[in-house]
Symmetry: C2
Subunit: 458 residues, 2 copies
């Protein structure tokens, strides 16, 4: 970038410390990519701040010199959020990983952005608490906040945006603000907290996050059921929602994915559309709910509903679901995975997943369908050779068709992975009328476009 | 106002219809106020649009001529939101009161802004659905969205902002946008929906609202318990939350309020701090929950826990809570009610309500304490004579002390009533650092400050 001073490294070392700013090639490469299929781009420098004051000084400096800045957690993004498209500074938050305060009586926790999900849950457990949002990856709370992550438990506990009570944000000009507070609700002015959640590092950098946490449920029951068809599996899931059953997770996995797990793990799961379930509550209520769930799933064609209460047996019951991404990633050496991500209204989900399966089969690409079907959110795992332009195009066409279908039905181009690089053209379709207003906010909050440039908006 | 053309009425009749724009004195007076204690101000004209196109034409016209515009539902605001502080046009949405579409399989409903809460629930009932947010008043959905209303059920179902999936908004320049969609979640760009919810008519006018709705619970149980002290009552409520019991409502009413109800209704409720409770769930789960709740409440000093399942008996059990505002309003002829509204972290609630009671008693004003204690949100009903400057000052001082206490403890100056006119000075304290960024958004979205000027921001 033209604006980058040749003293960049030295300047950042002065702001942080000699060993906390680096242009080491391996380090630059680690910060050039995420877990998506998007093409890596090297940052000019990686810096590891330890305080909000350092983050503020870095942003003030970057803003003055018009240097792009990309926040980095563990790089588990799936839409290229961490890729420094225009070079500049990658701010790695790994050294800001303190759990600042657990407030059990308030059901709140205050953390630094580099805290990971499993680290947080380990700390909460001793208070009988847990943080439910589970996107699969052991992402950082900062990253999960930036993409408005959700995942398997959102059908019960809500998405990341529902959990964030307060954000400490360093703005592009270096000023430090708090967007919320410690109360469970507020009607005090414009809701900036919700605006920053999901802003993908383009409006500010988070230095502290206050989250709602939950009591560990008295009883957890895991369940699994297979169905002759995808339609029956989805209808089965919908019947549980309609009945108001307290499901905490309801995951759909298609037969192609189960076959891939069997191939890879030498297991013999029934190769049929499968629902993986989890119920949270008190024992009496769950006994009722689970038996009611069984009735409903059987009405929708399942004949093999299994449940487990013991924690090890629960994990075993869910094993195929957990091994799924691994089975695809390691089952196709030399190929990359494009993980699509749309969300439709619940009533349109059956049509959307059946259509997605058809489109994948027509393309000739390998790929499974899986979904957080309680939210109408599903993914496909498209395996493609990034060196083969024809395969790249095929994968992109499949993605495009899945997105178009969702948009036509009133859904969204991304349920939880965010816009990043890959979904910008679909955001333009989905929110053509609101995009100018989003841009006005971006221009006001980050007038020199230093914050994660090239993400969400062009 | 200097910018208001003398052809205002004629111009608005051309945009709408002869009988849908008026300067009738009674009509102007009806639109000069809300249910708050704030001083009425007459609008120049009242207009009744029936379509988004008319709303767009009204705003385009107002923007061109720099005429203030105030959206009006049923005027149940408690912080002066509907008062046309600078005159101009009051847009009354009573003729935009259609329930556009119920989508039972999606758990969604699309409504026009003038639909009231009870009207909506009557329409949902035939689908086995309900809309839980219950601020007490039979407010319009437009008004509830604009103030981010919540109320008694938010401890279980969340606040207004949690329910809104999509807004059709007419912007100050007359452009019409949709902020969301029909899917249960999305990570598609900046979350403008959450920004408009709670914007109190200052960023745009809503012409359509899509809401999440819920299945009517299988079983509803109402409960009531009294306690020797406020501390024990609040601690009792907190013990239910900590145990993860599925309470759908948990309301605190202090002994002063119960005494007022007894005086007014010739009832003989025990004049002690009282919790009013409601449980939603399946019968087996609730039987367990309710008996566990009884244990916990008794541990906190209650000796008279009563429950009812039958709907008429449930209403009877809650009667004192429902009659409370009426008992104060009609018990002090010639006085107005200032309804304070703060929210604290849960762990600070006991201290806050005990402090509020002391401050009221010291002031010599009549007033009760009541609260949605599951959220840490409470109100006081301060009765004062608006013609007596000393009483006005006393009431304002009590309000100020309650707010200051909440802010000191990390709480908010308004849990659910919004900023409006009365809380602007406290917003400046609570969010001094974010206020400049709120103002930037306001300036961009409404450059001529025509939208509800003088509310939230100066």
């Amino acid at each position: 970038m033209s604006g980058i001073p040749h003293t960049l490294l030295e300047d950042l070392k002065k702001i942080t410390a000699d060993d906390r700013a680096t242009t080491n090639e391996t380090m630059l490469q680690q910060h050039s990519k995420d877990e998506s299929h998007h093409t890596p781009v090297l940052p000019d420098v990686v810096v590891f701040p330890t305080t909000k004051e350092e983050v503020s000084a870095i942003l003030t400096y970057a803003n003055e010199h018009r240097i792009p800045v990309v926040p980095f957690g563990v790089g588990s993004s799936l839409e290229g959020h961490c890729i420094p498209l225009k070079g500049g500074i990658s701010i790695d938050f790994q050294q800001m990983n303190q759990i600042i305060e657990v407030r059990p009586d308030d059901f709140l926790v205050r953390v630094q952005p580099g805290v990971t999900r499993t680290q947080l849950n380990a700390a909460l457990k001793k208070h009988g608490l847990f943080f439910p949002v589970d996107p699969g990856a052991d992402a950082t709370i900062g990253g999960m906040t930036a993409t408005n992550a959700s995942g398997t438990t959102s059908v019960r506990y809500g998405i990341m945006r529902s959990q964030v009570r307060d954000l400490e944000v360093v703005m592009a000009d270096g000023s430090i603000i708090h967007t919320g507070g410690l109360s469970a609700k507020s009607s005090s002015g414009y809701h900036l907290t919700g605006l920053f959640v999901g802003s993908e590092g383009t409006l500010g950098a988070f230095t502290e996050i206050t989250l709602k946490v939950y009591g560990i449920p008295e009883t957890v029951i895991a369940g699994r059921a297979t169905f002759p068809t995808m339609k029956q599996a989805v209808d089965g899931a919908m019947s549980l929602l309609a009945a108001g059953i307290a499901i905490a997770r309801v995951e759909l996995v298609d037969s192609t994915s189960i076959r891939q797990v069997n191939l890879h793990s030498e297991t013999d799961y029934l190769e049929q559309p499968t629902l993986f379930l989890e119920f949270h509550g008190n024992e009496a209520g769950l006994t009722h709910d689970v038996s009611f769930a069984q009735e409903l799933l059987e009405e929708n064609g399942s004949v093999d509903f299994l449940v487990e209460t013991d924690s090890k047996k629960r994990a075993k019951l869910w094993e195929a679901r957990h091994n799924l991404a691994y089975a695809f990633k390691h089952g196709f050496p030399g190929k990359e995975m494009m993980l699509t991500d749309v969300c439709t209204p619940l009533s349109e989900l059956t049509g959307a997943v059946v259509y997605a399966r058809e489109v994948i089969d027509q393309s000739g690409l390998a790929g499974g369908v899986l979904g957080h079907v309680g939210d109408g959110n599903f993914h496909t795992t498209l395996m493609f050779n990034k060196q083969d332009p024809a395969e790249v195009q095929l994968a992109e066409e499949v993605n495009a068709k899945i997105v178009e279908y969702a948009l036509q039905k009133g859904g969204t181009c991304t349920g939880e992975h965010g816009i990043g690089i890959g979904k910008k053209k679909y955001l333009q379709k989905e929110h053509a009328d609101t995009l100018p207003w989003m841009k006005l906010i971006k221009q006001q909050f980050d007038p020199h476009n230093i914050l994660n440039p090239g993400k969400i908006l062009d």
